[in-house]
Amino acid sequence: MYEIIEKRALNKDVDIMIVVAPLVAKNAKPGHFIILRVDETGERIPLTIVTIDGDNVSIIYQKLGYSTKLLGTLAVGDKILDFVGPLGKEAHIRDVKSVLGIAGGVGAAPLLPQLKEYKRRGIKVDLVIGARNKDYIILLDEYKKICDNVYIATDDGSLGTKGFVTDVLTELYKTKTYEHTIAIGPLVMMKYVVLLNKKYNLPTDVSLNPVMIDGTGMCGNCRVTIAGKTFFACIDGPDFPGEEVNFDELITRQDYYKEEEHVCNLKLVKK
C-alpha cells in the first residue's frame, strides 16, 4: 500500500498528490510514469511522475473518468492499493540551445519535469500554455521559475490570448525561432501543433498517453503507429517524434471504450 502524504487541488478538476513509493522514486527520471490501481476493483491507469523527492513521488491527475474521479476521493493518510514504476523510457533531453514547451490543459503536468531538466542543463526554455479558461492553467508559478517567457492562451480569453495554443504559436513564430519543441496535451492539440511546427521545420517531441493495462510491454493495448511501424508507448515511449505519429488512429483507439466509461461513471453517481 502506498500512502498519500499530501494532496492539493490545482483547480476543481485537477489535483496534485504526493505518494510514498520508495521503489518508484529510486530510479525515476524525467519522462517516466507510474501505473496505479486505487482499489481491488479498479483499473490500472498510467500517470506521469511530476516530481521526485526522496521516497516521495508526485502525480497530477484530471478527474475526468471514473478511475481518476475515484482517485480524487482519496485524502491525505489514505493509501493507494497499487503504485508501480518508474515505467517507460526517460525523456530524451536533446543537445540544443533553446527549447519551447507547449502545454495543453493537464498536459502541463508531464511537461514540467522535462522543461526543468532542460533548464537544469542550462538550456533556454520558453513556454506556451493553453487551457479552457484561467482556472485550468496549472503550475504557472512553477513554470515562471524556469522559463524566460511564458505565453498563455485560453479558449475564453480569461487569461492571455483568446484562442488556442496554435494561435499563440503562429504569432510567436513571426518573431522567434527555437531549435526544438515539446508538445504535451490532448491528442488533437498535439496533432495540430505538429502540423503547424512542420511548416516552420521545427521538430516536435510529443508524449502519448494511450490506454494501458500492465505498462510493461505485455498487453499491447498502448500500441501506436510511428512512421508506419508499431511501437508500444509503455516501453518504447511515452515520448515520440510528433511528425511520425498517426494521431487519427490513436484518437480512435483512445475512444474505444467511451460507452463503457460512461457506464462506470454512472456507478460513481450511485455511490
Binding site: N27, G85, D214, T216, M218, C219, E261
Partner: protein
C-alpha cells in the same frame, strides 16, 4: 471395482465429468469437474505398473507416476501426493494445464491399444485433495541466512523459489503486476484453471517463508545490478516469462478492435472485466470474433469471447486440424462450445472504416512439404476470402519482455530476445534464468522444471563462492 491383471487393458477410460456444453458458454466455471475418489481409483487401476515406465521418462520433471498411482490405489492419498510433490510442487495446476497427450499419457503403454491412463486427471485429483484437506509434507527448513531473489512469480519463479527455500535460503520474489502467478493469473482463464487454486498454492509458498513483493519491475524499479551489488542478493533467478505479444505484421493490425490475446485475456482474467462494471476495466468483443492462432492461448481467447456473449467465434489457423498445437482437451471443449475452425486460413489484412475494424482478409493456404517443426508447411494459393468481424484476437505467440535486457547491457540474449544460458547460468555471474524467458513461449511444466533445475545450479554457485 478393480480389474484383475489380465483384464486391465480391457477397462475403458474413466471419463471426467464436465459441465453441460450449452450452460457453460454463459459462465466461467471450470469445465472439467474432476474425479471422485472412486473414479480416481478406478482409473488408477488401469495402470499396468510397467517394468520400464515410459511415462516417467516422458514427464519433463520425471514425476514417479507408477508409484503415486499405486499409493492412490492403496488409498494412501497423502503419500501419493508427497510422491508427486517431490518432483512437482503444483500438481493441481499441472494436472489441469499440461499437454499430457504429448508427455506422460502419450508414452503410456495402455495407450497403444486403447486410451492411455488419465495420468493428468489423477495428478489433478491428488493436487486438489491436498489443497482441500491441507495436506502438506512437514519439512523443517534450516535457515542459512543467504538472500536470493526471484524475478517473476509465474511457474518458473514459483518452482525456483520453492526449491531455494527448501534449501534454507531467504527468498524474495519480485512481481511486476499487482497479483502473483504470472500467466497462471493473467493468461489462463478460470474455466480451465480456477484462480483460487493458484492463490492457494501461492499462499502455501508464503507459509513456507517465501517473501512475495508485488508492483516491482526489475530493470525499472530496481535493476539487476542494484539487487546484486546494493541489496545483498547472492544469486538471482530470472523467470520473467514471455510476455511480449508477437505481431502478425499485416496491414491494419493497430485498428480499434484488434487485440493481442495478452490484452484480451489480461482484461478478462487479471482485471476481471467479465464482471464489468463491478470491476471497472471494460472489455468488448462485439458479435463476430475472429481468433488468429491454433495454440492453447487461441482456444482460451475464443472460448472466453464466447462466454462474454459473442455470437459467432471462429479460429483462423493456417494449417489443418491435426497440426493445432493446443491441448487436445481444449480443442474438444472449444468444438463443443461451438467455436468454428476455419482452417488453412492465413490473415493478410485487417480492413477498417475510420480506424475501426470491420473485416479480416485471409489467404487460403494448402499444405506443402514438412518444415523444420516436422509439420507440413502452409503454402499460399493466391485465393482470398474476407470475413466481416467486430473484433479480432491475435494469439500467435509471445516473446520475452525486453525490459531486463534494456536495463542490463551485459545480459546476453539471442535474436529473439531469449536469455542465453549455459546450465541455467546467464552471461552475468550469479544470475540464472529459466522458463519462457530462456526457451520462448512453452508450457507451465517446462518452466517449472527449468526453475527447479536452476535452483540446483544456484545452490552450487553460492556454495562454491563461499568455500
Amino acid at each position: 471395482m478393480q480389474f484383475k491383471a489380465g483384464e486391465k487393458m480391457k477397462g475403458p477410460r474413466t471419463l471426467m465429468p464436465v459441465l453441460d456444453k450449452i450452460i457453460r458458454r454463459t459462465n466461467f466455471e471450470e469445465v472439467a469437474c474432476g474425479y471422485s475418489l472412486g473414479e480416481a481409483q478406478l482409473e488408477a487401476s488401469r495402470c499396468l505398473d510397467c517394468k520400464n515406465p515410459k511415462c516417467i521418462a516422458a514427464c519433463p520433471v520425471a514425476v514417479n507416476i507408477p508409484k503415486f498411482i499405486k499409493e492412490l490405489i492403496a488409498g494412501d492419498l497423502n503419500q501419493a501426493y508427497y510422491t508427486i510433490y517431490d518432483d512437482n510442487i503444483l500438481p493441481s495446476i499441472c494436472g489441469r494445464v499440461c499437454p499430457q497427450e504429448k508427455q506422460c499419457e502419450g508414452a503410456c503403454i495402455v495407450g497403444i491399444k486403447g486410451d492411455p491412463v488419465s495420468i493428468g486427471a489423477l495428478e489433478r485429483f491428488l493436487g486438489d485433495y491436498s489443497l482441500e484437506n491441507n495436506v502438506l509434507e512437514d519439512r523443517t527448513i534450516t535457515e542459512n541466512g543467504i538472500k536470493v531473489a526471484v524475478v517473476g512469480s509465474g511457474p518458473a519463479g514459483l518452482a525456483n523459489a520453492a526449491e531455494m527455500r527448501k534449501m534454507g535460503y531467504t527468498v524474495d520474489i519480485f512481481e511486476a503486476l499487482h497479483d502473483f502467478g504470472g500467466v497462471l493469473k493473467y493468461g489462463i482463464p478460470d474455466f480451465r484453471l480456477p484462480k483460487d487454486i493458484v492463490t492457494t498454492e501461492i499462499n502455501r509458498l508464503e507459509d513456507m517463508g517465501v517473501n512475495f513483493h508485488k508492483n516491482v519491475v526489475i530493470g525499472k524499479s530496481i535493476t539487476i545490478d542494484q539487487l546484486l551489488n546494493e541489496e545483498g542478493y547472492e544469486a538471482l533467478f530470472l523467470g520473467s516469462g514471455a510476455g511480449l505479444p508477437s505481431p502478425l505484421g499485416v496491414p491494419g493490425e493497430n485498428l480499434s478492435g484488434v487485440y493481442y490475446a495478452n490484452e484480451f485475456l489480461t482484461r478478462v482474467n487479471l482485471m476481471k472485466s467479465r464482471k464489468f462494471p463491478l470491476f471497472s476495466t471494460p472489455v468488448r468483443t462485439g458479435d463476430k470474433v475472429a481468433v488468429v492462432g491454433g495454440g492453447n492461448v487461441a482456444m482460451d481467447a475464443a472460448r472466453t469471447a464466447k462466454r462474454l456473449g459473442a455470437k459467432e467465434v471462429f479460429i483462423l489457423y493456417r494449417r489443418d486440424m491435426d497440426s493445432l498445437p493446443a491441448r487436445l482437451a481444449e480443442v474438444h471443449h472449444a468444438i463443443e462450445e461451438d467455436i468454428d475452425f476455419r482452417l488453412l486460413s492465413n490473415p493478410v489484412e485487417f480492413i477498417g472504416d475510420n480506424y475501426q475494424l470491420k473485416q479480416v482478409r485471409c489467404e487460403i493456404m494448402e499444405l506443402g512439404e514438412k518444415d523444420s517443426s516436422g509439420r507440413r508447411r502452409p503454402m499460399p494459393t493466391n485465393t482470398f476470402i474476407t470475413y466481416d468481424i467486430d473484433s479480432c484476437i491475435i494469439s500467435i505467440g509471445q516473446k520475452p519482455n525486453p525490459i531486463l535486457k534494456e536495463s542490463t547491457t551485459e545480459l546476453k540474449v539471442d535474436k529473439w530476445g531469449r536469455i542465453v544460458t549455459e546450465n541455467h547460468q546467464t552471461s552475468i555471474p550469479g544470475v540464472f534464468a529459466g522458463g519462457d524467458v530462456v526457451s520462448g513461449a512453452a508450457t507451465v511444466i517446462l518452466a517449472m522444471g527449468a526453475g527447479k533445475d536452476a535452483s540446483i545450479e544456484m545452490n552450487k554457485y553460492i556454495k562454491s563462492k563461499q568455500s
